[in-house]
Assembly symmetry: C2
Homo-oligomer: 166 residues x 2
C-alpha cells in the first residue's frame, strides 16, 4: 500500500549561500587534510566511483598516484573528466552533517618530477614502496568547479580561485 | 628536471581473483554495514561525486533518501546511471588497505511504502525529521556490476547474484 508523497511542502528557495572566507577556508582545509578521496570517472559512458590516495602538488592542487593496472587509470586516460569527494566523517555522529567538498575536475598525467615525488611522499610515506614502479603515475586534477556542503542547509558553490587555484 | 618513468616493470597479469564465498560475504557486509556512501552521477556529461545516506530495502538492495533540492537528485532524474562506493576506512591505518566495494547501478525512484519507510528508519532514525517532506524521495539502486577491493592485490568482480541481488 503506497503512501502518497503528500508530506509538508517546503519553499523551493535557492539552497546555495553566498561564498564567504569561512567557506573558502573550510574547503581549502578539506583538500589539505585529505589522505584519500572518492574518485568518479567515466567508463564507457557510465559513472564509476572508487577510492584513491590523495595528496597535493606543491602549489596545492589535488594529486594522486595511480597504477596502470587500476580501472580508474584506464578510464582517465580515455576521458580525463573526473570528480573528487573529500571530507571524511568521523566514527561518531551523523555523517551527513560532516563537511565535505565535491570537486569537478579534469585529470592530467604528470612526469615524476623529484619535487613532486618528495612533496607527495611527505604525506604518503608508505607509497615509497611502489612510487617508482613503472606502472605508477602521478595525476593532478585541474579544478573546474567546487561544491562545499558544510552540513544541512550550508551549501556553497566555489570557484578554483576560492580554493587558491585561480 | 623530470625523472623518466623507468622504475621496475611489473608483470601485467590480470589483477582480478576468482570470486569465492569469502569475497561474496565481505561485499555483502560492506553494503549491510554502510550508513552512507559516495554516489557518482552524470551531470551534463560530467561525473560528479557526492555523499548520500545509505540503507537497504527489505530485500537488501541499496536504498537512499534524497531531496529534490539536491543536485544529485536532479541528475538522477535526468539520467539514472549511478555508481556507489561503500566501505569506510577507520581513523587509523592505510585507507587503501581497507576493503571497499564499487557498485555500478541504475537508480530507481520508489513510492514511500510504509514497509520501506520503517525499514529505512530502523537504520537511519534521525531521518524521521525529514522523511515525510514532499521533496524527499526513496531511491533504490539496481546493481549492474560490482568491484570489490579487499586491499592491495585483492580485487574481485562480482555479479548481482554474488550479492544476493540476482
Amino acid at each position: 500500500m503506497a503512501v502518497p508523497d503528500t508530506g509538508p511542502e517546503r519553499p523551493r528557495t535557492n539552497p546555495i549561500r553566498p561564498t564567504d572566507d569561512e567557506a573558502r577556508r573550510l574547503a581549502r582545509s578539506l583538500i589539505d587534510e585529505a589522505r584519500f578521496a572518492a574518485l568518479a570517472v567515466l567508463a564507457e559512458g557510465r559513472p564509476v566511483v572508487t577510492r584513491i590516495a590523495l595528496g597535493t602538488t606543491p602549489r596545492g592542487a589535488p594529486l594522486t598516484l595511480v597504477s596502470d593496472l587500476a580501472a580508474h587509470t584506464v578510464a582517465l586516460r580515455a576521458d580525463p573528466k573526473a570528480s573528487l569527494l573529500v571530507g571524511e566523517p568521523g566514527p561518531r555522529g551523523d555523517p551527513l552533517t560532516h563537511p565535505r567538498l565535491t570537486l569537478e575536475a579534469t585529470a592530467r598525467f604528470l612526469r615524476k618530477d623529484p619535487a613532486l615525488r618528495a612533496h607527495y611522499l611527505a604525506t604518503h610515506p608508505k607509497s615509497k614502496l611502489y612510487v617508482d614502479f613503472a606502472d605508477f603515475h602521478f595525476v593532478t586534477f585541474d579544478v573546474v568547479a567546487a561544491h562545499l556542503n558544510g552540513g544541512f542547509g550550508k551549501a556553497f558553490r566555489l570557484t578554483p580561485a576560492d580554493l587558491g587555484l585561480g
